[in-house]
């Protein structure tokens, strides 16, 4: 399909703007724009058709089952879209005086209280823009905390199952990274861990349940090891959907938690975002939280900038407010029954795992939490069919593939997270498809290798994309890649999470 730039015709436009016959002051020549940007020129009808066509070529949760592991692709209640668009929220300026923002401040304060209760900790900042930034903020808190105590600690430990953001955040925070292994049951390897924790250790970053979808059975010992060494524990909350009302990070021994509002608390994922990554901490870390803090004085709410020990700001203003409105509404619609959300998420995952066991390898065969990881290694060994092939073939059944090739310690990994909002019929249909694919790996290998079928494109050449690096339209000088040789080289690397 054409790019919107290829639909452009000089002289067309969709916008109408107010004009006044007032003089337009001259912009100093050296600062004035010489050549206008080549933005596309279309009428509104064409604009609407173009984006309607793009939407029709996009697969969302509304389109079908989307078990992308570690991303918690649950249904997004439509009422949240309604409330976030209330003018009192949508059109409120972040620099409005406090007396003109009491409703917004109260909503944020209430959300903080809720997240504190759910995580079992003590103080919350809603500011981080997403989980990754929550991680980085958490690590900055560690720095500030130890600096304040004049302790020199330069290392942070992550699991070999960790999401890529954990090590990346460690680096960005200026820490050295140490990796710890996973034991036979999928828990952290405690011996390895003991060997790596010392007085230079600032802390641990851990996802629990882990990216294997398993709850660490010895989390208490893990916590003890770090606390005994005077280090802190950071909880990567990406998997919180498994344990709301069931087990609280604070009770597990974690000192700092980030929560992915767009996962557990249903922010529409929007093709990649936005998200929200509030962090919740123990009292001891509260003084270091970002400014401004949202505080309550009796009946009034205000922003408190007077936090001398604060790490500062990690994002503009007080965070992605619209995301807070949706997640607050989402949680209020459950109330104390929020636990049910996690219960069903875990039940759905275990049911699907039970149905797939046998056809796919289960590297760590335990009850899973809200998601689980199986391996297509058996299919690869026997028929040369990879996790990628399984993923592509699933599209032919109308499903979005799960996360693949992650976590890294599981070869040919398929990481499946159904979420609680899916019906049993859907889980059954997906299971049937997975089982049929496993059978077809033997009998109809090409069908899998050539999948997907009947989509707008076949497998795309990712190697060519990276080599040529065509990352913007080039107008008259835009290359014609169809003239360059190509193979269907979809890379067997992490896709998802």
């Amino acid at each position: 399909m054409k790019l919107i730039f290829e639909r452009s015709q000089a002289g067309r436009r969709a916008s109408t703007l107010p004009r006044h016959d007032l003089p337009v002051p001259e912009v100093p020549r050296e600062l004035r724009r010489a050549q206008p940007p080549r933005l596309p020129e279309l009428s509104e009808p064409e604009l609407v058709r173009h984006f309607s066509a793009l939407a029709a070529r996009t697969f969302g949760i509304d389109t079908g089952f989307y078990p992308l592991g570690s991303c918690t692709m649950k249904h997004n209640p439509r009422v949240n879209e309604r409330v976030v668009n209330l003018p009192g929220f949508r059109d409120l300026h972040p620099l409005q005086e406090a007396d003109g923002a009491q409703g917004a401040l109260e909503l944020m304060w209430r959300l903080q209280e809720i997240l504190v209760e759910i995580s079992g900790l003590h103080a919350c900042s809603l500011q981080p823009a997403a989980g990754s930034q929550g991680e980085l903020t958490g690590l900055m808190l560690m720095r500030a905390y130890f600096a304040d105590r004049a302790e020199e600690r330069d290392t942070v430990i992550t699991a070999d199952t960790a999401h890529g953001t954990n090590p990346a955040s460690v680096t960005m925070a200026g820490y050295k990274l140490r990796k710890v292994g996973t034991d036979a049951r999928g828990n952290l390897d405690l011996d390895d861990l003991r060997a790596k924790v010392d007085e230079r250790t600032a802390g641990l970053m851990l996802t629990n349940p882990s990216t294997l979808g398993l709850f660490d059975e010895r989390i208490e010992e893990v916590a003890a090891i770090f606390h005994d060494a005077g280090a802190l524990l950071y909880y990567d909350g990406a998997n919180l959907n498994a344990v709301c009302g069931i087990s609280r990070p604070g009770d597990m021994g974690f000192d700092i938690v980030h929560i992915n509002l767009h996962k557990t608390f249903s922010q529409p994922h929007g093709g990649g975002g936005p998200g929200g990554g509030p962090i919740v901490v123990r009292e001891t870390l509260a003084p270091f939280l970002p400014v401004p803090a949202v505080v309550r004085d009796g009946e009034r709410f205000r922003l408190d900038f007077d936090r001398p020990k604060s790490i500062g700001k990690v994002r503009g203003y007080t965070g992605p407010f619209g995301v807070f409105v949706r997640s607050y509404a989402y949680i209020r619609s459950y109330g104390p029954a929020l636990r049910q959300m996690s219960e069903v998420a875990v039940l759905n995952a275990n049911y699907l795992l039970a149905r797939l066991r046998g056809a796919y390898e289960v590297p760590f065969d335990r009850l899973c939490m809200h998601e689980f990881v199986v391996s297509a290694r058996n299919l690869k060994r026997a028929h040369g069919v990879t996790a990628l092939d399984v993923a592509k073939r699933l599209m032919d059944y109308g499903f979005h593939p799960p996360t693949i090739y992650f976590p890294l310690i599981v070869p040919e990994a398929l990481m499946i997270e159904p979420t609680e909002t899916e019906a049993k019929e859907t889980l059954d249909a997906f299971a049937e498809a997975m089982l049929e694919i496993a059978r077809d790996a033997a009998e109809r290998r090409d069908l899998l290798k050539e999948a997907p079928h009947g989509r707008v494109v076949k497998r795309l050449d990712e190697v060519k994309a990276a080599r040529r690096a065509i990352v913007r339209y080039g107008f008259e000088r835009h290359p014609d890649l169809s003239q360059e040789p190509s193979e269907p080289r979809a890379l067997e690397v992490q896709k998802g999470a």
Partner: protein, 439 residues
């Protein structure tokens, strides 16, 4: 629960299939002592009608731009968001998709991101843009990280006339990057290229803003030149809506162009979510943070789009990644794309001219002493005979929000008011402001 789809019958069948007798049993791997043994202390569930009523009540306690005649800007702008933006962003497929890891199912959003990257590059005069950063502040920190690796510099030169929100974020990130931050003060509203040149010795980057936070037009080309001479990357923080009338950073030597996208297609929403954009010269492409979509083909030579250059990213490169960003601001960036397509080059110029002319009209009608004798765009600072915060409080009592008190961020400017005039304001509304400030 309206979100859950399991019937009691389903539940039983599923538990049986799993081989457990109760939901409880599913959690047996959780050590006794860390199990949560009471009910969450949350307020009772609200039904959908009650939920809407509750949130409407909270919303009603905010004074939004529809309830007050607002001249408040200072980084977040009351520009008009066209209806087509809502129409596109509310399409369920865009709303509920995630990062397009599987291109065959996601050509729509991938192409949209490719189009967004192109639009941002055209706007800024750059070669490469990512799929979005968190906001106009964090992209400045991203730029520092890029500069740290692209140069041998050890510090960041930050102009004082840059939005304080941005400066605070840069200062929070810099220590982790082992970068020192040096601030260059403004002189009568603008930055002195000479001072920048002096400060830039072994700097990784120089960050300035155009138009700057004080509303003034910086000598941007000279600031960029000063940075380049010192071997530091010139980073321009720009207002996208100014780029129909103001020169693009790529055309005066900047290495990176960054900015806050809100004004271009997002509602203000009390500060977020919005999108931050970051675009760069081609030589920096492999140091860019975040998602980038590239063009390629399938076996049949059919054109298609994929996430590319992923060896920069956390999920492949882990601790060596150019950034940790994962979830980004795609939906808001899509809003930006739709908005820019709605405007077109003609609309972009018109909106710039309308801002220029209305702001000029406002300066004249207010007749207050300008804080700085400089050319401006849509914002300008005036001096008052009382503390600005007092004036603001008084004006708000009669339904007018006159602007931003610069004393919040700048020493000795308690009497300075930053007035913002977007294309949504009318001459009559400006007259009203003049009247109120004169009272």
């Amino acid at each position: 629960m309206s979100q859950l789809s399991l019937t009691d019958r389903d539940r039983e069948a599923m538990l049986a299939a799993v081989g457990v007798s109760s939901v409880e049993e599913l959690f047996k791997d959780i050590p006794e002592r860390v199990r949560f043994d009471r009910q969450l202390d949350l307020e009772p569930a609200l039904s959908e009608p009650e939920l809407v009523a509750h949130l409407a009540e909270l919303a009603a306690r905010n004074v939004d731009t529809g309830k007050e005649l607002s001249f408040l800007g200072a980084g977040m702008y009351d520009h008009y968001v066209p209806a087509v933006v809502d129409a596109v962003l509310s399409r369920g497929e865009f709303l509920t998709a995630y990062t397009p890891y599987q291109p065959e199912l996601s050509q729509g959003i991938l192409q949209a991101i490719f189009e967004y990257q192109t639009a941002i590059c055209e706007l800024t005069g750059m070669d490469v843009s990512n799929a979005s950063g968190y906001d106009g502040a964090t992209v400045a920190a991203d730029a520092c990280f890029v500069a740290k690796h692209a140069t041998s510099g050890s510090k960041i030169v930050l102009c004082e006339a840059v939005n304080p929100q941005v400066r605070q974020v840069v200062k929070t990130y810099a220590p982790g990057f082992e970068l020192e931050v040096v601030e260059v003060p403004h002189r009568d509203g603008v930055t002195d290229p000479g001072e920048v040149a002096a400060a830039s010795r072994d700097a990784a980057a120089v960050i300035f803003q155009q138009p700057n936070f004080l509303g003034c037009l910086e000598p941007a080309p000279e600031l960029a030149a000063a940075a380049n001479e010192a071997g530091a990357l010139p980073v321009a923080h720009v207002d996208p809506l100014s780029l129909g009338v103001l020169e693009a950073p790529g055309n005066y030597g900047c290495a990176l162009a960054i900015g806050e996208g809100q004004g271009a297609g997002n509602s203000i929403s009390y500060g977020g979510p919005h999108y931050g954009f970051i675009a760069a010269r081609s030589d920096l492409i492999r140091r860019m943070p975040g998602r980038i979509v590239g063009e390629t083909t399938d076996v049949d030579g059919e054109r298609g789009y994929v996430l590319t250059l992923q060896t920069r990213e956390q999920h492949i490169r882990r601790e060596k990644a150019t950034s940790n960003i994962t979830t980004n601001q795609t939906l808001l960036a899509l809003g930006g794309l739709v908005y820019l397509c709605w405007l077109g080059p003609q609309g972009l110029r018109e909106i710039g001219e309308t801002c220029l002319s209305l702001a000029a009209y406002a300066k004249e009608r207010l007749g207050l002493p300008p804080a700085f004798e400089r050319p401006t765009f849509k914002e300008f600072a005036v001096r008052l005979d009382r503390p600005a915060r007092e004036v603001i409080a008084r004006a708000r009592e009669v339904g007018v929000h006159p602007g931003y008190a610069l004393g919040r961020d700048y020493e000795g400017m308690d009497d300075a008011l930053l007035v913002c005039v977007t294309e949504k304001r009318t001459p009559a509304e400006i007259d009203r402001l003049a009247e109120v400030l004169a009272a």
